[in-house]
């Protein structure tokens, strides 16, 4: 068929598209089915969260952080509380540190469960895998509901501790969920990870070398899938993570399969941290009594605090001028910065792979657009 006239096709994927995980748009230029150019378009969910926070009191920003990565509100709370605690030099109550680790790791488990379901959906296995994942996620959301009153918008952390103590019987229920979670992972693996179609769709697709991943700002599971040994829980040892034994799983090729499997391996380590934290939790107060939550006035200065969120490095850069409002409130959103390399990963692949690559990065638009 040589000599047949051909031209590039521009396709606008999104913002309303089932595989874009929200209102995300990509302008893709195609040569046949192969991607030659990809331009992400942001901002459909932009509400200038940072400006809102700068007009409110320090505490009033806490419930807004729930709405960043709305799959994992509790880790967002934690990152903000951690940055404020750094800024003002606040110590966290011992029991609250354990509660934070427990709810934080539960958040990671339900995020990774949802991730597995969503990626399978992006590959065309729409529905079934997602229902299995959401069945598991529901159990964790029930725990959050009985603890915080809300399934997703938790508003749970406070400066120097947590908002409320664990209700009676909660720890036993959490232990049961943690003990049962590996069975779900094994079920998922038995059903899927050896599946021929899944391997064909994931293995060798969009490999990312470690040097490019670091320079491009990839963080979290995406960075470790490229073989980089970097987990903020180990490096910074924030909270009480240095007390627990856990391993950092790593990939080698950095392709979609590594990014997929890394979540499965990481979930197993989270279960191990959970069981250690549940058996070690002490009695005591859950809030540092010296901190005045309402009318909170941190001294002038600035601080950058970060945690290993389920999607990557979630950081808050705060500047205080000594008043009751943040002078500058900046969020380092892992979902946005992990998309820096999206075009590089997608160029040269087929259009159908773009969905899988985007899914394997794991984004939430509430955090991308803020």
């Amino acid at each position: 068929m040589t000599g047949m006239p051909s031209r590039m096709i521009d396709v606008s994927l999104g913002p309303q598209h089932p595989s874009t995980h929200g209102v995300f748009r990509m302008n893709v230029t195609l040569d046949g089915e192969t991607v030659v150019k990809l331009q992400p378009v942001f901002g459909y969910l932009h509400r200038n969260h940072e400006k809102i926070a700068e007009g409110n009191s320090w505490l009033a920003a806490m419930p807004y952080t729930d709405r960043l990565d709305y799959i994992c509100p509790i880790t967002n709370n934690w990152a903000y509380a951690l940055a404020v605690e750094k800024l003002a030099g606040i110590e966290v109550a011992e029991r609250a540190e354990y509660i934070r680790v427990i709810v934080g790791e539960l958040t990671r488990l339900q995020n990774h469960a949802a991730f597995l379901g969503f990626v399978l959906g992006d590959m065309g296995a729409w529905g079934t895998a997602l229902m299995y994942a959401f069945r598991e996620r529901e159990k964790i959301l029930d725990l959050f509901e009985s603890l915080t009153g809300a399934r997703m918008m938790a508003n749970y952390m406070r400066f120097g501790g947590c908002r409320c103590d664990l209700p009676p019987g909660w720890i036993e229920a959490a232990r049961k969920v943690a003990d049962e979670f590996p069975a779900f992972l094994e079920e998922m693996e038995a059903l899927l990870t050896g599946n021929e179609i899944l391997l064909a769709r994931l293995q060798g697709v969009a490999p990312l070398a470690s040097g490019r991943a670091i320079n491009g700002g990839m963080s979290g599971p995406g960075l470790r899938a490229s073989g980089v040994d970097y987990d903020i829980r180990k490096v910074d040892g924030y909270g009480i993570y240095s007390r627990f034994k856990f391993r950092i799983p790593r990939g080698s090729a950095g392709d979609c399969y590594d990014r997929f499997m890394l979540r499965v391996l990481e979930a197993r380590e989270s279960v191990s941290i959970l069981t250690q934290a549940i058996s070690g939790i002490p009695d005591g107060p859950i809030l540092n009594p010296k901190v005045k939550q309402r009318g909170f006035h941190p001294p002038a200065g600035e601080a950058y605090g970060r945690i290993e969120g389920p999607k990557g490095e979630l950081g808050f850069y705060l500047i205080s001028d000594g008043s009751g409002r943040p002078y500058r409130f900046r969020i380092r959103p892992p979902s946005l910065i992990n998309l820096t390399l999206l075009e590089e990963l997608c160029v040269g692949t087929k259009l159908a792979d773009v969905m899988v690559i985007l899914g394997s990065i794991d984004i939430v638009l509430g955090e991308v657009d803020r």
Binding site: F42, G43, H46, N48, E50, K51, K86, L87, A88, G89, R212, I214, N215, G216, G217, M218, S219, V228, Y230, V235, P298, P299, A300, G301, E302, A303, Y304, R306, E313, G315, Y317, I319, S320, R328, R330, R332, L336, I337, L339, T340, L341, D369, R370
Partner: protein, 202 residues
């Protein structure tokens, strides 16, 4: 921090770099780099000191401030005056871009690097560090969008979150939000005007 500062001064003696102290208990002090040396310093930090990961890029809008300072050592003529007399000094406003760097190789950080513009006017620029750290690309676009700082040498400097036709920079401290972002005259307005004219006549 002082080690990094010494290393920069040893390698780039002509570069203007100074330490900015942070009074917060976390003591994350920062390096203030002049615009003309920023790219060279960044390249040195990445290639020689191992700061391979540019984690966070933020814009900060500093309004003009008045600071009270103790007067300079009183001259003998002023001996009768109160030695604690303070003078007010005005610091002009400026925009600032703050980079938080980490070293994944050495597992150290954060190193805070600041670059400042001369004033807060509509046409200010700093050098882009995207050629050194690709991870700054989208974040510098965001700072350009929301603060109005142009990044010289950025490969694709467009608005990130606001729409392309938008003309202001919402994260500036003196930005005033309109009552309605999406207001535009529509045929509906003419209908409403006709209805209200009719009701007034009746």
């Amino acid at each position: 921090m002082t080690g990094v500062l010494q290393a920069i001064r040893a390698a780039l003696p002509s570069a203007s770099v100074e330490q900015v102290n942070n009074p917060s208990p976390c003591a994350q002090h920062s390096l203030l780099v002049s615009c003309s040396d920023a790219l060279a310093v960044a390249e040195f930090l990445r290639s020689s000191l191992g700061y391979d990961f540019c984690s966070n890029v933020s814009g900060v809008d500093w309004l003009p401030r008045k600071v009270k300072e103790k007067a300079a050592s009183p001259s003998p003529d002023d001996a009768g005056k109160d030695p604690q007399e303070t003078v007010e000094r005005e610091i002009p406003g400026f925009l600032e871009v703050v980079y938080h760097l980490y070293s994944i190789e050495k597992k150290s950080g954060p190193l805070t690097v600041r670059v400042r513009t001369g004033d807060r006017s509509g046409n200010v620029s700093v050098p882009s560090l995207t050629p050194v750290w690709k991870s700054a690309e989208l974040q510098e676009r965001e700072v350009y969008d929301l603060f109005g700082v142009r990044f010289i040498g950025h490969p694709d400097l467009r608005r990130l979150l606001m729409w392309d036709e938008f003309s202001d920079h919402p994260m500036r401290k003196d930005y005033v939000a309109p009552d309605d972002y999406e207001y535009e005259p529509t045929p509906h307005d003419r209908v409403l005007a006709r209805v209200s004219a009719r009701t007034e006549a009746a």
